[in-house]
């Protein structure tokens, strides 16, 4: 029993160490010869294309809800003509990236976690390794890279659809032509909004891919471990997204909006 405390500490430290080693493994295999282009494209399709519906609907609802919810307040100040400006800024800067990243953590990190975990517990990853092939290069590098590419693209898609959601919402609470709505939105949106937000989503994408792969790759305990890995992947990826978002908010505040 006396060993309980050091054990917990050890396993916590070991986890951090193992994650660092895993990132090292990923980076080490990133520039290996015979890059797995086909698998990367297949993963982009699986990860990106198959999440389009989910992110588009999420984006539309975000734009719509923010508009409808804020309209009464804006009206009270006679500022309803600023609704498009407010909606686009809040979605592009903050709400879009975070909500889409959390949605992706649920959809993508869990599916990567479950897929790799089932390969792990059925010894497919071991089989790849003992044949002399490189499972990190084939499985991990491709999945993390496609998350890095697809999560920002999905976020941009959601931002764009949110604009329509906002327009739709503003036509329920008032009247504004689409051209006017559109112009007003893009009047205030500048590159200093889009660039830090997109850089942030690249890190979100990395976190989602990395956590999914790490949890899947280290699954144990047979089929039961597959569910555990998928679940842990979602929980940890969501946590990473929130922590990264807090860090990003500090950094962008320091540079962009002063």
């Amino acid at each position: 029993m006396a060993q309980t405390i050091p054990r917990i500490k050890n396993s916590w430290l070991a986890e951090v160490g193992n994650q660092a080693l895993f990132i090292g493994d990923f980076l080490g295999n990133l520039f290996r010869r015979r890059f797995e282009w086909n698998e990367l494209i297949r993963q982009c399709y699986m990860i990106g294309y198959k999440s389009i519906m989910l992110t588009a609907i999420t984006g539309f609802v975000l734009g719509f809800v923010i508009t409808v919810q804020s309209a009464p307040t804006m009206k009270a100040f006679g500022a309803q003509s600023y609704i498009p400006n407010m909606v686009i800024i809040s979605i592009v800067r903050e709400i879009g990236p975070v909500i889409i990243a959390l949605t992706c953590a649920g959809k993508i990190a869990s599916s990567i976690g479950a897929e790799l975990a089932s390969m792990k517990v059925t010894e497919q990853i071991d089989a790849m390794e003992v044949s002399g092939a490189n499972p990190v290069q084939y499985l991990v590098v491709t999945r993390i890279l496609s998350c890095i590419v697809m999560v920002p693209l999905l976020t941009l898609l959601a931002d764009a659809v949110a604009l329509f959601g906002g327009f739709f919402g503003s036509n329920i609470v008032g009247h504004m032509s689409f051209t006017l709505y559109f112009n007003k939105s893009f009047d205030v949106l500048v590159f200093t909004d889009l660039i830090p937000a997109t850089i942030k989503t690249i890190f979100f994408g990395f976190a989602i891919g990395f956590v999914g792969c790490y949890k899947g790759y280290n699954a144990t305990n047979g089929t039961e471990g597959v569910g555990v890995a998928a679940n842990m992947a979602v929980v940890n990826a969501s946590l990473w997204v929130i922590v990264l978002d807090a860090i990003a908010a500090q950094i962008t505040n320091m540079f962009a909006y002063n």
């Binding site: 059925t122 089989a127 003992v130 044949s131």
Partner: protein
């Protein structure tokens, strides 16, 4: 295939040792799995390892291919200590040592053709599609499953999965094969077919092999020599027929 069996004892295994294990130890946490493993695999021989479940047979051969690292002792494969290989040397060694998993471990998301082509493109770096297709076809013919080429692993029976797993491993033309319970979970007829296939492939490609099993029919068909593992060490060794006559209770219990 019958005459192969007749010849079996005549194939003189050379004196060259390809795998050498000496005082090998391995524990997981508090649990000592391997306490003192000593073993030599000679070139060209078929060594069968018998032992009850959970005795550490799989752990032993996982040490041989470097999936696990021993805590102490020597584990030399093809003259080199596995623990000390550089990553390139390890890759080279793994190419020369084939490993058939108990679960067959076929890649679920790939067809049979892609499963067999995977080691050709990823390990041998073959690029010519015709050559790849030819070698895949040849291997499938060897295991008698040409018609399964476009199937997914989920569509195959247990015996077929074993054959495809065997084909995928043999396609790299290994010098040494490690079979982890190749017939466990199969019906007696399929088990016999797989055992004979193992023997046939060994003769055809002159492979040295370790076969882990508790299927005595498989042991009888494939073994040049048998070793029995108990509590993390080997307790008996000899020809199948010798051990069958042994007085020792534990040894003879396997042959009942």
């Amino acid at each position: 295939m019958e005459d192969l069996k007749e010849n079996k004892t005549n194939t003189a295994a050379g004196d060259e040792v390809v795998i050498h294990l000496e005082h090998l130890k391995k524990s997981f946490g508090e649990k000592d799995v391997l306490t003192d493993i000593n073993m030599n695999l000679k070139k060209g021989e078929n060594l069968v390892i018998l032992g009850r479940s959970g005795e550490g047979k799989s752990v032993t051969i996982k040490c041989i291919v470097g999936l696990l690292n021993q805590d102490a002792g020597k584990c030399e494969v093809l003259g080199k200590e596995v623990n000390e290989l550089s990553s390139d040397e390890l890759k080279d060694m793994r190419q020369r040592v084939g490993f058939l998993f108990q679960s067959s471990a076929l890649y679920d998301s790939m067809t049979v053709r892609e499963n067999l082509a995977f080691p050709l493109t990823r390990v041998l770096n073959l690029k010519d599609d015709n050559e790849i297709e030819e070698r895949v076809q040849e291997m499938l013919e060897n295991v008698g499953l040409e018609e399964a080429i476009d199937k997914m692993p989920a569509e195959l029976s247990g015996g077929m999965r074993k054959r495809i797993g065997l084909a995928r491993t043999l396609i790299l033309k290994p010098e040494i094969m490690l079979y982890d319970e190749p017939t466990t979970g199969l019906d007696p007829i399929t088990s016999r077919e797989i055992s004979e296939l193992i023997l046939h492939m060994q003769k055809k490609y002159k492979i040295s092999s370790i076969v882990i099993t508790h299927d005595m029919a498989c042991a009888k068909i494939t073994a040049d020599r048998v070793m029995i593992m108990n509590k993390g060490e080997f307790i008996a060794e000899g020809q199948y027929e010798e051990l069958e006559q042994a007085e020792d209770e534990l040894v003879s219990s396997f042959f009942k």
